[in-house]
C-alpha cells in the first residue's frame, strides 16, 4: 500500500489528494529540492544519495539531454554544448550580460519582441539548436521535479522556487516560465535570503533586522532583511557576482604552482590540481594541515603540506572583499552593525573557519550556522511551500490574507464541489480530479463559483470556460485535473487538464471583485441557516443525477440490443419502469425516486444478463455470431 506521512492535527489529506509541495533552490552552481515530511523540512536526495544537483546541462549530439554530474563530467570535452551557471543569463539580453568573450558559448541575440522594444533574452546555440536560458533552467527543474515525485510517491501540487533578492521582474518572470516549462506549478517565488531566514525559524522570532551572508561556489550575496509582522522586507543587498569558493580553490592552485615548481600545465593537469586544491580547502575546515599529492601527466609528482595559517593568509583579501560588500549593504540600509539582531550563514563556502571567524568578529556576534549552509535555502523554501499548499493550520502561521468565501466548481446536478475552502491563506493552490459523465464525452464545461452553499443556484458565479478535446472514453474513465490557484494579489486562475492527452484550458478571475463586506457576511449567514436544507438538497440532487445516468445507460442499451435480445413484452416492461422513473425524477420525493430506481434496476436485470452473455459469446466466437446475424 501507499506509504503515509504524519499530518498536522485535523489536516490529514483525502486519499490520492496529498498536498505534495516542494521548495527548490535553483542555484548558479548547484540546485536542490526539499519538502516537509512528517513535520520536518528535509532535502530530497537522488538515487545515489546526493542532495546537490550541479546546475549543468549538456545537449548531446544524439539529441539527449544530460543534467547534473553527468553533464559536469564532460564539461571540458564539450564546452559549447554544456551550459554551466545558466542562472547568470536568466532574463538577460546579450547587452545586459556584457563581457561574453571569455565564455565558450555561441550566443544568439533573440529577436526583439517588437520594434522599438527592449531586446529579447539571449539564446545559446547548441547542437540541439538555439536554447534560451529558460529552456536550460527548465531541464534542471525537470530533473528535480522527477526526483521529488519519485520520493513523495505522487504528483506535486506546487513548488516554491527561490531567486536572489536582487532579481528584477524579467529575471523573476524567466524563472517562472522555466518552472512552467518543467511542469511545475509555482506557488510563489521567494527571495533566497528570506528562505534562509525562514529555515532558521526567524519568522517566528522577535521583530528586527537580520543579515544573510551567502558565499556560494561562484557568487557572494549579502542581504539585510527587516522582519515586521511576520513579513520579511529586503532593505538592501550587495555582493560580488564573481567571488565564491572557486576563488579560494584558485588561490591554493596558484600556491601549488609557485611553491611546487610546476609550470606549463596541460588542461588535464590544471583540472586535476584544481580538484586537489578544492579537497585541500575542505580538509582545512576540519584539520590544522593537509597533504596535497598528485601525479601529473608528464610523470612529475606534487607532494606538499598546506597549513591552515598559510591558507588563511593567502585568502585574507578574499574574505576582506566580502566584508567590504557587507559594509556597503549596511550603509545603503542606513544601519549600523549594532542594529543587526542575527546573522544567517548560507552557502558551502561559509563552512571555512576563517569566514565564520571574520563574520563573527564583524557583527560582534556568533552567526547562525547549525543548519547545513548548502541546504538552508531549499529547506526554507520547502517550509513556505508546505504552508502555501495548505498543510499547516493558519494559527501556526501569521495570517497575511485569507479567502473570504470558498471557491469551487459546479458538478452534475447543479451541485458545488468546493476546491479552496474559505479562510485559506493566500496565496493558495489546490487541485482535484474530476471525470466525465457520459460515454464519449469530449468536452467539459467548468463553471467556477464562490460561496458556502451546496447548490450552484445559491452561490455566486464567477466564470465559465470549456475544456475541449477530451479523448472519447467510457463515462468515468477520463481524468480531468482542475487546479485552483489564488496568487498573492488575490487573482484566481483556474486550469483544467485532461491527464491522458494533456489538453488544457484555463481562465483568470478576480474573485473578490464587487463583493462588499456586507454581501460576504450575508452569504456566510445564509449558509449557516440553510445547512440542513442544503444537506437534503444535495442528497436529492445526487440521487436525481444517479437516476438520470441509469436512464441514459438503459436507453442506450435498448437501442443497441433491445430488438435482438428481448421480445416486445419484455421491452415494454422495461420501458414502463423507465417512464415511471421519469415521472418522479423531478419530484422532491426522495423515497419515490429511490423506489423507481430499484424497480428499473430489477426490471432490467435479466436484460443486463443477456447483454453480458452476448458480449461473452461475441468475444469467444465472433465469427459464428456474425454468421447467425446474417
Amino acid at each position: 500500500m501507499a506509504l503515509l506521512q504524519i499530518a498536522e492535527p485535523g489536516l490529514s489529506a483525502a486519499p490520492h489528494e496529498h498536498r505534495l509541495a516542494v521548495g527548490i533552490d535553483l542555484g548558479t552552481t548547484n540546485s536542490l529540492v526539499a519538502t516537509v515530511r512528517n513535520g520536518i523540512s528535509t532535502v530530497l536526495n537522488d538515487i545515489e544519495g546526493c542532495a546537490l544537483l550541479p546546475s549543468v546541462v549538456r545537449y548531446a549530439p544524439d539529441g539527449s539531454v544530460q543534467v547534473g554530474y553527468a553533464a559536469q563530467a564532460v564539461q571540458s570535452d564539450d564546452p559549447q554544448n554544456t551550459i554551466v551557471s545558466v542562472k547568470r543569463f536568466m532574463g538577460r539580453s546579450l547587452k545586459d550580460v556584457g563581457e561574453v568573450g571569455n565564455l565558450p558559448y555561441r550566443f544568439v541575440d533573440a529577436p526583439s519582441t517588437g520594434s522599438g522594444q527592449a531586446p529579447g533574452m539571449l539564446q545559446l546555440r547548441t547542437v540541439a539548436g538555439a536554447k534560451s536560458p529558460v529552456e536550460v533552467s527548465a531541464e534542471i527543474l525537470k530533473v528535480l521535479r522527477e526526483r521529488a515525485e519519485l520520493s513523495l510517491g505522487g504528483e506535486l501540487v506546487g513548488a516554491v522556487i527561490t531567486v536572489p533578492a536582487y532579481f528584477d521582474d524579467a529575471q523573476r518572470q524567466a524563472t517562472k516560465d522555466a518552472a512552467r516549462l518543467a511542469g511545475l506549478n509555482v506557488l510563489r517565488l521567494l527571495n533566497e535570503p528570506t528562505a534562509a531566514a525562514i529555515a532558521y525559524g526567524l519568522d517566528n522570532a522577535a521583530e528586527g533586522v537580520y543579515a544573510v551572508f551567502d558565499l556560494g561556489g561562484g557568487t557572494f550575496d549579502i542581504s539585510i532583511l527587516r522582519l515586521s509582522k511576520g513579513v520579511f522586507e529586503v532593505l538592501a543587498t550587495n555582493g560580488d557576482s564573481a567571488l565564491g569558493g572557486d576563488d579560494f580553490d584558485r588561490r591554493i592552485y596558484c600556491w601549488i604552482l609557485e611553491n611546487g615548481g610546476v609550470s606549463a600545465l596541460s588542461a588535464h593537469d590544471t583540472r586535476l590540481l584544481l580538484t586537489n586544491a578544492r579537497s585541500a580547502k575542505e580538509q582545512l575546515t576540519e584539520y590544522p594541515q593537509t597533504q596535497i599529492t598528485a601525479v601529473l601527466g608528464g610523470g612529475d609528482l606534487v607532494d606538499m603540506t598546506l597549513k591552515r595559517e598559510v591558507f588563511y593568509e593567502m585568502t585574507q583579501n578574499l574574505v576582506a572583499r566580502t566584508l567590504q560588500a557587507t559594509r556597503r549593504a549596511l550603509r545603503d540600509a542606513k544601519l549600523k552593525v549594532e542594529d543587526i539582531k542575527g546573522v544567517v550563514m548560507v552557502g558551502g563556502s561559509t563552512r571555512m573557519p576563517q569566514v565564520q571567524h571574520a563574520v563573527g568578529e564583524f557583527f560582534g556576534q556568533a552567526p547562525l550556522n547549525n543548519l547545513d549552509p548548502d541546504k538552508v535555502v531549499a529547506l526554507g523554501a520547502a517550509i513556505q511551500a508546505n504552508v502555501l499548499a495548505g498543510n499547516r493550520t493558519a494559527d501556526d502561521w501569521l495570517l497575511l490574507d485569507v479567502i473570504p468565501l470558498s471557491l469551487g466548481i459546479e458538478t452534475m446536478g447543479g451541485l458545488v464541489e468546493k476546491i479552496i475552502p474559505r479562510n485559506s491563506t493566500i496565496p493558495s493552490a489546490r487541485a482535484q480530479e474530476f471525470t466525465t459523465y457520459k460515454d464519449g464525452q469530449t468536452a467539459m464545461s467548468i463553471h467556477v463559483v464562490q460561496g458556502e452553499r451546496e447548490l450552484v443556484s445559491d452561490c455566486r458565479s464567477l466564470a465559465k470556460f470549456e475544456l475541449r478535446g477530451i479523448p472519447a472514453m467510457v463515462a468515468g474513465s477520463a481524468r480531468i485535473r482542475v487546479t485552483f490557484q489564488v496568487d498573492a494579489d488575490g487573482l484566481l486562475s483556474v486550469s483544467a487538464r485532461e491527464m491522458a492527452s494533456g489538453t488544457e484550458a484555463s481562465i483568470v478571475v478576480k474573485p473578490s471583485y464587487g463583493l462588499s463586506d456586507e454581501e460576504i457576511t450575508r452569504m456566510l449567514q445564509d449558509s449557516a441557516r440553510h445547512a440542513r436544507d442544503d444537506m437534503v438538497a444535495r442528497a436529492l440532487r445526487e440521487l436525481q443525477t444517479e437516476a438520470a445516468q441509469l436512464l441514459d445507460a438503459v436507453e442506450n442499451a435498448l437501442q443497441e440490443d433491445g430488438d435482438a435480445l428481448l421480445d416486445e413484452i419484455a421491452q415494454a416492461r422495461i420501458r414502463g419502469s423507465m417512464d415511471a422513473l421519469r415521472a418522479v425524477l423531478q419530484e422532491e420525493d426522495q423515497q419515490a425516486i429511490k423506489r423507481a430506481v430499484e424497480a428499473l434496476n430489477s426490471a432490467s436485470t435479466e436484460f443486463a444478463q443477456l447483454r453480458m452473455d452476448k458480449s461473452v459469446k461475441h468475444a469467444l466466437a465472433g465469427h459464428k455470431l456474425s454468421e447467425l446475424e446474417d
Binding site: M1, A2, L3, L4, Q5, I6, A7, E8, P9, G10, L11, S12, A14, P15, H16, R37, N38, G39, I40, L44, N45, D46, I47, R147, L150, S151, L152, G153
Partner: protein
C-alpha cells in the same frame, strides 16, 4: 486487542515529535472517503480527547477515537522505504478489500 508500532516506526515517530517540539503522540483513525470506502488518518496529537482510547507501544503514545477502533484494532504501524519514497505502512488485519494503492479500504 491493541494498536502497535514496530520498533523502527516508533523510533521515527519519536524523532519527528522531538523535532516538531510539541505533541503528546500520534493520532490514528479512519474516516469515510476515498475510492474504496474508508481512509486512514495519521496525525500528530497535541491533546488527548475525552473519548480517546490510549495505547502505548515502544514508548510512543497512540490515540484512537472509539469509532475508529473497530476498523483498525490489531493493526501494526511500520516505517519502510520503497525506492526513493519512505513513510508509514499500515498492517491492518481488518482490511478485506482495498483500492489499488491501499490508501482507502473496506472492512
Amino acid at each position: 486487542m491493541a494498536i502497535s508500532l514496530t520498533e523502527n516506526a516508533a523510533k521515527h515517530v519519536q524523532n519527528f515529535l522531538a523535532k516538531r517540539g510539541k505533541g503528546v503522540g500520534l493520532r490514528l483513525g479512519v474516516r469515510t472517503s476515498g475510492c474504496s470506502g474508508m481512509a486512514y488518518k495519521l496525525e500528530f496529537a497535541d491533546a488527548v480527547d475525552s473519548e480517546d482510547l490510549k495505547f502505548v507501544s515502544n514508548g510512543v503514545t497512540v490515540l484512537v477515537d472509539q469509532h475508529s477502533l473497530p476498523y483498525i484494532d490489531g493493526m501494526e504501524l511500520d516505517y519502510t522505504r520503497e525506492g526513493l519514497n519512505e513513510g508509514f505502512k499500515f498492517n491492518n488485519p481488518n482490511v478485506k478489500d482495498a483500492c489499488g494503492c491501499g490508501e482507502s479500504f473496506k472492512v
